[in-house]
């Protein structure tokens, strides 16, 4: 059954587990909860010259958050903590403005175009960005 808010692609993306799991050699790690629902996203990362080299996530969350974590993980390699922060801010702006694309340069995130009318769900999309940024900062601290 296809659905405006939950298109088939979102369900498929949410079950994409290529980047799921842990990194035993992680240089940084972070777990963040969504205080409104208790959803939880953890990221492990390793850095090379301040840029994400490898990463794994553990997500206990709604379909929207799972899909966002999977998409972000697939596009995170080579980025810094500031890049992740900026990506999250840009996506938030896109969601608020109902822009197309939602995130310039990253058409995959248009998967979330159905949620722009649902302000309460923006946090579901953005939680993985915050968790990945925190994990990357944690790794930066460990190497500095």
């Amino acid at each position: 059954m296809s659905d405006e808010l939950y298109p088939r692609d979102m369900l498929r993306t949410a079950s994409d587990i290529r980047f799921a799991g842990t990194l035993p050699e992680a240089g940084g790690t972070a777990t963040l909860d969504n205080p409104f629902c208790g959803d939880r996203v953890s990221f492990d990362v390793t850095l090379e010259a301040g840029r994400i080299k490898s990463l794994r996530h553990r997500v206990k969350a709604c379909v929207i958050c799972q899909a966002s974590a999977a998409l972000l993980a697939a596009e995170a390699e080579g980025r810094t903590a500031d890049d992740i922060l900026n990506l999250g801010d840009d996506l938030m702006a896109g969601l608020k403005a109902d822009a197309r694309p939602l995130l310039p340069g990253h058409p995959a995130f248009d998967l979330f175009s159905g949620i722009t009318r649902h302000r309460a769900r923006f946090a579901c999309v953005l939680l993985p960005f915050e968790a990945l940024e925190a994990a990357t900062r944690d790794a930066e601290k460990a190497t500095s």
């Binding site: 059954m1 659905d3 808010l5 939950y6 088939r8 369900l11 409104f36 629902c37 208790g38 959803d39 939880r40 206990k60 969350a61 709604c62 379909v63 929207i64 649902h118 769900r121 579901c124």
Partner: protein, 411 residues
């Protein structure tokens, strides 16, 4: 047959006539989060604001007199709803504010090494203020467990509530499992140990007048908005000698006896705890809500709501089969008309989002009860919480929406 009629009651709630989208009627099943406002309360608010709006206890003109009378009358009405003297009823900003007030003002009387016992079922409002108090005063927190079906485990209490425990804080009814606490039995156990008992009435008080002397507790708190009153008002009841022994939390106007530059003396309860201009119109609304709720045939209303609750649980079992996990008892005994559940493979927020398309308002998440959800081993749940005005149409719309959600999310 009782004289209760849900259809007649529905007509008293203007909001039930709205459409959430063109052609989509509202099916409000989130009464546990906030109760809807009946016309009687709306009318009382408009009447107050258009004929008696003024500050209380400050001026002698006609409006001020009316406002003061209305505020005092509201206190009398809330006191009658709880079957206690008005002098023992303190207006607060809500249930959370009321618990924090006890945790501060009574909590300061506790000594390092004392303990406070709190159940696993509690809303964060009845846990976090006690954690803060424990940290501030060097107290221990004792965890009172619940049973597998989400009721307070009475059998465990006598052992856990020992002489060190000075205060027990439990909910009158769980906002997640719906289980009603046998407060009188808990009160007897607390009394044997020499502990006081605070009961969180946020969920129970909206279901009709509460006979506090029969419960035997020492403090009782409630939130006005859950009774259909405006936001921003709640009540804290406490036995007078306890209130009289407590220092105020906030200082300011209205709560003083005499003010000198160096120091002041305080008014007697309840004024001692009501510094500043109180929530006058919300309190008037709360009085009107208590009057409105008192007039409902509660046995009839509860029988009606329990029949709907049974229908909802049966429907969930039929539609979700072995994917269904009830977060609370299956039985209809000693519970509120409130059902929390998880459908395996779906997230409560995704479920609630799809229900909203049929105008069905359910709440999803941890319902400010993360400890309870942790014990059940889930992050959150979806919750349908009923009021007397709900009807078969609301339950059918909810079940149809759950069918929709499973098609979308599990395909």
């Amino acid at each position: 047959m009782s004289g209760f009629s849900a259809a007649r009651l529905r007509a008293e709630y203007p909001i039930l006539n709205i459409e959430t989208a063109p052609g989509v009627a509202l099916h409000y099943l989130d009464n546990g989060a906030t109760g809807q406002m009946p016309r009687a309360v709306l009318d009382a608010i408009v009447a107050h604001e258009t004929t008696a709006r003024a500050n209380v206890k400050r001026s002698v003109h006609t409006l001020a007199e009316r406002a003061t009378n209305a505020y005092d009358a509201a206190r009398d009405t809330v006191a009658a709803y709880l079957n206690v003297p008005a002098l023992e009823v303190v207006f607060t900003a809500g249930c959370t504010a009321a618990i924090n007030l006890v945790a501060r003002s009574h909590g300061d009387l506790l000594a390092p090494g004392d303990a406070i016992a709190i159940s696993e079922l509690e809303h964060h409002a009845n846990l976090v203020p006690w954690q803060m108090l424990a940290a501030r005063r060097g107290l221990d927190l004792v965890r009172l467990p619940m049973t597998a079906e989400g009721r307070l485990d009475l059998a465990a209490l006598p052992r856990l509530i020992d002489q060190r425990v000075k205060l027990v804080a439990v909910t009158h009814a769980s906002n997640v499992t719906g289980a009603i606490t046998p407060v009188a039995e808990v009160a007897a156990i607390a009394r044997d140990a020499g502990a006081l008992l605070l009961v969180d009435g946020a969920q129970m008080a909206p279901h009709g007048p509460v006979d506090l002397p029969a419960l035997g507790c020492d403090f009782y708190v409630l939130s006005g908005h859950k009774l259909g009153a405006p936001n921003g008002v709640g009540a804290r009841w406490g036995r007078y000698p306890l209130l009289d022994a407590m220092a105020p939390l906030m200082g300011g106007g209205e709560m003083i006896r005499t003010v000198k530059f160096e120091a002041s003396t305080y008014a007697r309860p309840p004024q001692r705890f009501e510094a500043g201009t109180p929530p006058i119109m919300p309190a008037v609304g709360l009085g009107a809500a208590c009057r409105f709720l008192s007039a409902i045939d509660h046995d009839g209303a509860m029988a009606h709501q329990m029949a709907l609750t049974g229908r909802l649980i049966e429907g969930l079992m039929r539609i979700a089969g072995n994917r269904l996990r009830l977060i609370g008892p299956e039985s209809l005994d000693d519970r509120l008309p409130l059902v929390s559940f998880v459908i395996e493979g779906t997230h409560p927020h995704d479920l609630c989002q799809i229900l909203d398309r049929r105008g069905v308002a359910l709440r999803g998440g941890h319902h400010c009860a993360q400890v309870l959800h942790e014990v059940f081993g889930v992050a959150g749940s979806a919750r349908a919480s009923l009021a007397p005005f709900n009807d078969e149409g609301d339950i059918e719309a909810c079940l149809a929406g759950i069918g929709d959600a499973m098609k979308v999310l599990l395909s």
